[in-house]
Subunit: 335 residues, 4 copies
C-alpha cells in the first residue's frame, strides 16, 4: 500500500482527493492536515465522506507529514507550497496542486506577484504530453490549462496553429470552498460571468505548454467565464490554422496524438459536462469551419478531477509505476 498524505485537506481539491482515493486499491490515506480544522473529523467538513473515512484533520509539521508518507499531495494556496515542499521531499514524493512549480520562478514571480524561494524543477503533470514516471515532484496543472492545452496540442505539435482563442466556461467550484461574491448564489444563478478577460494567470501555462510543442509560433488568447454549474470546464478552442486543413486529417492527427491515452475520449458528438462529471475523462470533439481556416475544438473536463485531484492521482499512479487508470476508471455521474 502506498501511504499517502494530503497537506491542506479542507478545500474542494482536498475533499476530492479523499473521495477519489477511497476507490483506489493501492492507497491508504494516513494523514490529512488543516490548520483551521485540526482535531475535527474529516467528515464533519466533508460530509459526503461520513462512514467512508474515520480520519480527523491534523496539524503536524511538513517534516512529520513527509516521514509518515510515501507521497504527499499539497493542496495549499499559491505561494505557500514552496515553503512546504522542500521539507516534504526529504522523505516523500510530492504532487503539488498549487501553481508554485508550474512555471519557471521568474515567470511565476511576474505573473503571481510573489517571490519564489525554491528554484528546483518539477515535471508539468499533464501526462498526455509529459513523461511523469521517474519524477519525485510533480507540478499538477491548472484546471483551465488542462482543458485548453489538450484541445490544441495535436495542432501545435504539427506547427499548424497560427492563432488560438480559448473561451472557457467553468463551474463555480473553481472559486473554492470559501463563500465570496463570485460564488454568491443569487448573483451567479441565471448568470454567465466573464472575468479577467485578458489577464488570467492560467494563460501563462497555456502559452508555456503549447510553446513547448510549436516553439511559440501561435498567438494565444484566453478568456475565462463562470457559468451556473458546480463542476466542469468546457473549453471552446477557436483554432486558426496556417493553411487550409482537411477535417478528416485533423481527426486522424488527434487520434494518433492521443493513442493509448486512456482518459482522452475523442467523441463523435459534441461533449457535455454531465458525461465527465466526477470522472477523470477529457472528452474532445473537433469540427472544421472551411470558410476561414478555423478548427473548433471542444473539450470537457471535471475541473476538480481531470482539472485537479484526479489528474494528481493519475500522476501518482505513473510515479509508482501503476497502471495510469488504477482507482480512476470510473464513469461520470450523469444525469
Amino acid at each position: 500500500m502506498i501511504e499517502v498524505g494530503i497537506f491542506g485537506g479542507s478545500g474542494y481539491t482536498g475533499g476530492e482527493l479523499l473521495r477519489l482515493l477511497s476507490a483506489h486499491p493501492e492507497v491508504e490515506v494516513v494523514v490529512v492536515t488543516s490548520r483551521r480544522f485540526g482535531g475535527k473529523p474529516v467528515s464533519s467538513l466533508h460530509r459526503h465522506l461520513d462512514g467512508i473515512y474515520d480520519l480527523s484533520f491534523e496539524n503536524p509539521t511538513p517534516a512529520e507529514v513527509g516521514d509518515r508518507c510515501d507521497l504527499v499531495f499539497t493542496a495549499v494556496p499559491h505561494g505557500s507550497a514552496m515553503g512546504i515542499v522542500p521539507e516534504l521531499l526529504d522523505s516523500a514524493k510530492v504532487i503539488d496542486l498549487s501553481a508554485d512549480y508550474r512555471l519557471p520562478p521568474r515567470v511565476f514571480e511576474a505573473i503571481y506577484g510573489l517571490e519564489h524561494s525554491d528554484a528546483r524543477e518539477a515535471v508539468y503533470g499533464l501526462p498526455e504530453i509529459h513523461t511523469v514516471a521517474g519524477h519525485d515532484l510533480v507540478a499538477n496543472p491548472g484546471c483551465y490549462p488542462t482543458g485548453a492545452v489538450l484541445a490544441a496540442a495535436p495542432l501545435a505539435s504539427e506547427r499548424l496553429l497560427s492563432l488560438a482563442v480559448f473561451d472557457s466556461k467553468s463551474g463555480i467550484s473553481g472559486a473554492g470552498a470559501e463563500p465570496s461574491m463570485v460564488s454568491h448564489y443569487p448573483e451567479m444563478a441565471e448568470n454567465v460571468q466573464p472575468y479577467k478577460l485578458t489577464t488570467h494567470r492560467h494563460r501563462a501555462e497555456i502559452v508555456q505548454e503549447l510553446g513547448r510543442l510549436d516553439g511559440g509560433s501561435a498567438s494565444i488568447s484566453f478568456t475565462p467565464h463562470v457559468v451556473p454549474s458546480v463542476r466542469g470546464i468546457l473549453t471552446t478552442a477557436h483554432l486558426f490554422t496556417r493553411e487550409s486543413v482537411d477535417g478528416e486529417e485533423i481527426r486522424k492527427l488527434y487520434e494518433k496524438f492521443y493513442k493509448n491515452k486512456p482518459f482522452i475520449r475523442l467523441r463523435e458528438t459534441i461533449p457535455s459536462l454531465p458525461a465527465v462529471r466526477g470522472s477523470n475523462f477529457c472528452d474532445i470533439y473537433i469540427e472544421t469551419d472551411d470558410d476561414n481556416n478555423r478548427v473548433v475544438v471542444i473539450t470537457a473536463i471535471d475541473n476538480l478531477v481531470k482539472g485537479a485531484s484526479g489528474q494528481a492521482i493519475q500522476n501518482m499512479n505513473l510515479i509508482f509505476n501503476l497502471d495510469e487508470t488504477t482507482g480512476l476508471w470510473q464513469p461520470g455521474l450523469a444525469p
Copy 2:
C-alpha cells in the same frame, strides 16, 4: 409626488424597493442611505438600476432623512430599526421592513434575544387581513408569515383549523446580499436545505396572526427550507380541520375572504414561482384530502416583493389613500 426615503438601501430589499418604485407614478425617491457605501452611486451596487436612478448613497442622520421625506422605508437589521424609527416618525411616516415592530416587545425580546427600546404600536402590514390606512407606522410582515398566514387565514377565521403544518420552500435571496455558507453556490445548487426545523423566528408571527383570527385554537408547526432558486417562497400548508369539510365550500370561503383583494389570485391549477416572480401577487390553490380531514393549500409569492418590498409599497399606497395597486400592477417575469 410622495417624497420617499430608503434607510438602509444596499441590500436586496433596498434594491427591490428602488426597482419597484421606479414604476410608481406618485413617488419620487429623494434619499437612499448606506453607511458602508455612502458617496457611491446607487447603480454601482445595484447594477440593474443603471440609467434608471441617478442617486448616490448618503449617510445622513435619521432626523435629516425624516425631514426630507413624506415616508421612509427602513430596511435595516433586526434590532436596529427601533433606534431609528422614533426620530423618523417626528416628521415622516414609516414602513419598517425589519422585525422590530411585528411582535409585542416582550415577545420580540424572547424570540430575538434583543432588548426592545420602543414600545409604540404599529399596524401589522398584511393588508389582506389588517386595515393599514390611517397608520403612521407599519410593521411590514416577514416573508414566510406572508405566505403562511395567507394560506390559512380563511380557515382560521372560521375556527375550522385544528392543526397546521407549514412546510415552506424559499429562494436563496432570502438569506440576503452578503455571501455566506448558506448562499455558497456549490453548496446550494442541486440541493434542498431545511433549517431551523422547529425554531424559526417567523413562527411567532404566524402564531400571532392566525391566533388573532381563531383565538389560538390551532396547533401550528413551521419548518423552512432553502431551495436552489433566487426568488420566491412556495408554502405547502397541510391544514387539518376540526371536522370533515367540503372542497367546494372551502373554495367559496376563500373566494369570499379574499374578495376585492387584488393581489390574491385563487388559481385553478397548482401555483408555481415563475408566475409570481417580480410581482406582488400571492397565488393560492386549494385541494382537499377527504381521507383525513386535510386541506392542502399552496401559496406562491416572490419573497422580495409580496414578501417584502412590494408589500411595503402596497402599505404605502394604503397610507396615502392611493389605490392599493398603484405602481404595483405588473405581471410576473416568466419564464
Copy 3:
C-alpha cells in the same frame, strides 16, 4: 461472476444500474435490452459510459434474457413488468424496479388503474426493514416511499406515531429521461413545483409499509414536490406522536433500529443532497418540537441510487449472499 441483464436499459435507472455495476467486483453485465435503441452502442445514449462498457442494446425475448443471466433487473414501465417477469423467473432471479409487485394485485389495480396478471408474491426490497435474502423476486421500492418509510419506521415500530405528514422534495430526474413540460428547463428552473398534492400513487406504499409496523394506527399524508435539482429526494417528515417523547430517547430508538444498517447514516447536522449524491446512503436527522408532540425527521437520498438502482444492487447482493455493501461503498459526489 454473477451474470446480470438489464431489461429496459435506456432510461435513467438503466443508465444508473450500469454506472454502479461498473464498480461491482462480482458482476458482469451480459445483456442490456431496449426496443427503441436495439443495435446501438449503450454509450451512444449513456455518454458517460463511453470507454466503460463495450455493449450494444439488444432486443431479445424475455426467455432469452433469462437464459443468459443469473439475475435480471427489470426497468420497464409500470404494468409492463408483470408480462416479462414470469418468463424471466424460469431461469433467473429478478429485481423489478417497476411498481408491479410492490402492492397486492387488488391494491395495485385500484391505484394504478391497470389489470394485474401475475399474483405471485415478491419481497418488498427495503432491506433495512425486510429480509431480502432467500427470495427470487424482489419488488424494488418507489423512490418517495424509501425516503418516507425510513424516516418514520422506528417510530411506527413502537406504535408511537399518530399522524405523519411527509412533505417530499424531489430532483427532476425522477420524471425520467423523456422530455415533457414538467422537465422543461425554463419552467422548472427557479421554481418549486408541488403536484398530486393528495393523490400520489406512492402514498399506498408508505401506508402499506408503515402499516406493517404499527398495524395501520397512524394517519398518513404525503405531498410531493419537484425542485430544481437533477438528483435527490429530501423528505421532511412531520411526525406527531401519541404522547410527549424525549429527544434523546427518540434518537436512541433510531440508533437501535438502524444498528448494522450500513447505508443509514444518523447525522448530527441537518442532511443535504450533495452529501448523498450518487451514493446509496440515506442520511437521517431527528429534531423534536416539544411544543406540540412533533418530531421532525429529515431524510436525504439520491432518488436514482438508494431510491432505485443502488437499492436494487443492494438487494442483489443480499440475494447472492454477498456483503450488502459490495460495489456500493462509495461516497457521494460533493460539491
Copy 4:
C-alpha cells in the same frame, strides 16, 4: 391608443410581448392568435398574466387580424411569416419576429432551406444601427445577432476589424416553449452545451450587418452555446484589429457611436445577465489585450427582450414616432 395584435401568441416571445405591452401607456392589445389554443384564456397558458389580461386566444384569418389592428407582431415559425405578412400589410404595419425578412430571399433560401415567396424589403430592426421610423415592415433581428452586432459595430464602422470570433452563451428559453432534449432539465442543469459550432443560421445576419458597416472586410466566426439559465445572452466578442489600438480611443469610439442610444449602457465593470434580465438594455464592456491586437467586448442582453420582444416594441415606438423608450424604461430584475 395603438391597437395591436399578436399573430402567434402562445410561445415565449408572444408571452413576453404581452408582459411588456401591459406597461405600455399607448397600446391596447386587441387580438392574440393561436391555432392550438384558440378559445382558451391567454392566462391559462401564460399564467403570470392572470389578472393582467382578460383576453382569450383567437384563430382568425390574417386579413381579419390586420383589419382590427394598427400594428401586428408576427411571432410564427421561420417560413410561416411570409405567408401571413402580405395580407396583414394591407391594413396594418407589421413587425416580424421570424427570420423571414432579415436576409435577401436568396440568402434566406440558402441558409434556411426554404423557398421564399415574398420579395418585399423590410428594414432590419436594430435601431441602434438602422433608421426604423418611416417603415411599415420591420424584420426584427435574431437574438444572437443583436448581441454580436452591437458588440462589434463601432469597430466595423471604422473598418478596424480584421477577425471577429463571437462566442455566445444563451439561456435555454431561446429553445422555445416546447419541451425537447435540449431543454430537458436533467440534461441541461450543470451543463454548458455548445451546438452548431460553425453552422448556426444567425451567422448570416451577423455577416450581413457588419458587412454593411465595413464592406465585408472582416473574417467572422460565430459559435453558440446554451448555458443553464432561463434568459439572457452573453456574447464574448474576441475582436482582432488591423492595427494596434488604444484602449481609451476604443472606448471613445463606442461612446460616440452609441451616443443617444438609450438602451445601450457602456459599463465600467464586466456585465452580467441579472442586470439586464427582463429589460431592454444591452450592457457593453470593452477591454483591450495589448499583446495581440485583441479587443474583448462583452455584451449582455435578455434574449426575450432586447433579443426579441422588447426590441420589437422599441421598433413599434419608432414607427409610431413615440419616444423609443415608451413603456420599455424598466430596470432589470436582479437578483
